[in-house]
Amino acid sequence: MTLPLLSLIPGLPLAAVALNLLLGDRLGKRGTAWLACGSVLAAFGLAVRAVLALAALPEHERRITEMAWTWMRVGDFTANVSFLLDPLSAVMVLVVTGVGSLIHVYATGYMSHDRSFRRFFLYLNLFMFAMLTLVLADNYLLMFVGWEGVGLCSYLLIGFWVERPAAAQAGKKAFIVNRIGDFGFMLGAFMLVVATGSLDYERVFAAAPHAFAAGGTAITMAALLLFAGATGKSAQIPLFTWLPDAMEGPTPVSALIHAATMVTAGVYMVARSHVLFELAPAAMQVVAVIGAATALMAATIGLAQNDIKRVLAYSTVSQLGYMFMACGVGAFGAGIFHVMTHAFFKALLFLGAGSVIHALGDEQDLRRMGGLAPKLPWTHATMGIATLAICGVPLLSGFFSKDEILHAAFASGHYGVWLAGIVGASMTAFYMTRLYVLAFRGPSRLSHESAHHLHESPPSMIAPLVALALLSVVGGYVGLPFQEGGHAFTRWLRPVLEAGGHHGAHHEVARGVEWTLLLLSVGVAGAGILFALRSYLWTPALATALRERFAAVHRLLEGKYWVDELYDAVFVRPFVRVSEWLWRVWDARVVDGVVNGVGTTLEGGSAFLRVFQTGFVGTYALWITLGVLALFLHFMRRT
């Protein structure tokens, strides 16, 4: 490749950021929009071209690396700013840039009435830059740069509406919780450096089997620490609490960062380091279990939420759980597959929700919606498709990926995980349908002003919806099941996921069993949907009845298991108290004391030295001479 294709992909958004900063408001709304979307679209184009170039290569040398410059060289440790494009990162890059550009377009419409339009796109482009760096990095250090970058951007964007205290709080929460995870990531990276002396994927993966005893403590520790980073970024138990609050940010942000791209970074990272995880079966178990638990727990919480975006948020958490489930059972390909499809339909759902909110004038409560279908035909249609897709209705993208995950879980003998997945799937179907029904069907429960504010969104918002809807429908067909040697997607990822000699989990089960599983998952999905329709559309009394019957459970779910309160009590409060003590005693007394002490000492000293400052050059010269004399004498003593 003649021109530095890979470095240009993250480079373009960054350039857009720079331009945005330099030109400032001189750009105007239109200019900003063009700049932001243009840069991301261009990046998408470049990505497509790069991936084509990649696909042109024969299967087993499908990796394009591009060295930008040597970042640091410390002793025998060197870190380069260099980019790697292999099938895995190719998928991510396409998803990020593709969905990203769609969402950018959408945002131009959604944010059109916002005061700080420019700042929004500044952050958004910055995020694109960080995310692409993360995905394209060819070593953990650069990946960590992107990792932190996306964390920062998510903080900035969640707290975008700074005048809202809730938003600011949510931003801080997200950032801090992420930091905890990042700390794990860092420690993991340190372990890798210590063990393999490098952070380049290639070197690490090459060296890992020799550097670590398979299944040993060290590798398990490392893998778990990395996974801790993943749980932070991808909102898994125990660090999932920030994601629902993150819904305080603008909806495009929720769609881009907290559904499609950033939160999947964890999955990507785990899949990227599959070599390490495969060396540590225990860690894999942990991943699987945590994934399953998160999937189930989030799903249950999702059942009882009334804020449309929160429902989606918890569904995101649960879907991420599925992805980790896949990774945990060794089906990294399936995980990435689900990342992709999920990016499509979840982004679509969020954007749809955004369109609804937009249409109703910032109304987010499901209980004050309903009957929107005729008013918002496009939104309704696309949302419907997305809902079906996520529910796992056959022949839609969600179906294929989710089914593959469940199948992998079952095949690899993690029956508990599989069961959790099945149940979670049915719940997913239930609450998604509930959301759909409450929003679009049934009688209209709109408040007065939102009722007359009601209008279908502008084309700039509809177009991305349609595009994503198409993707959510066909996106899954790269992974049709029942193919010898795995489907297209698996084959595409094979060079990466089977690197390091170790072959990804290929537990074949009998066709019959496979069919049964398939029908079963379809069945539970159908059941969930039907039950939701019944209890919210056909006989709404049933929902209330249920709510009264299981009041305790309902309260538990509505209160999100009071995890936040728990953390608040266990971590936050004591921490605050300790910090207050430090502030009052350590900082105010000791540190300030030292500083002031230094100050007073200097004052005294200079008061003494002022005596020598006569202002006469001659005197100074004399002092200098005496100093020279003293030096002479010193040397004489030495000799």
């Binding site: 001659g618 004399l622 001479t625 005496l626 020279v628 004399l629 002479f632 040397f635 004489m636 000799t639």
Partner: protein
Amino acid sequence: MIPLFLGFAALLVATSLLVILHKNPVTSALFLVLAFCSLAGIYLLLHAEFLGMVQIVVYAGAIMVLFLFVIMYLNLQHDVETGVQIAVRRGIGWLAGAAVLLTGATLFGVPAGGGSGWALGPANAVDPAAGAGNVRAIGRELYSRYLFPFELTSVLLLVAMVGVIVIARGGARRGGARRGGPPPAAGPADPPEDR
């Protein structure tokens, strides 16, 4: 060669003493010129022809002329150096000087073979051409190994020139430039600018 050196050395010491002893700045300046010339002579004896010449061109020919120019420009007469305080300072000065010289002498007086840090290294015979100090060799060095410092000095000179012009001009604009100075005819030649 030795007698020549001794002569130059004597001249150098005598003239430099007169520089600091003589009350008339112009005379001091002239003696300084002589001192520089004798130093140039010593350089010649040490096979540093280039330096000897440059010594005369730069120090005698430029720097000292500038000194003279300034002295005349400010038209200074004999320094009046009377009064207790001044006498005291002079005494201290001489004492300090003597002390410096003494300590220095003791330092260098340490026997060379004594293994002390001050023993003078032996004359190591690298290629004699380098020692010959001819212009070509120096040029080679300057433009190869010392290229960067060389360029730096050019920058330094530029900066100095700018600074000088600024200082001189600033003073002239603040009026009173004529006070104590010679009649206007010497005005246009702002001495530092001509350096």
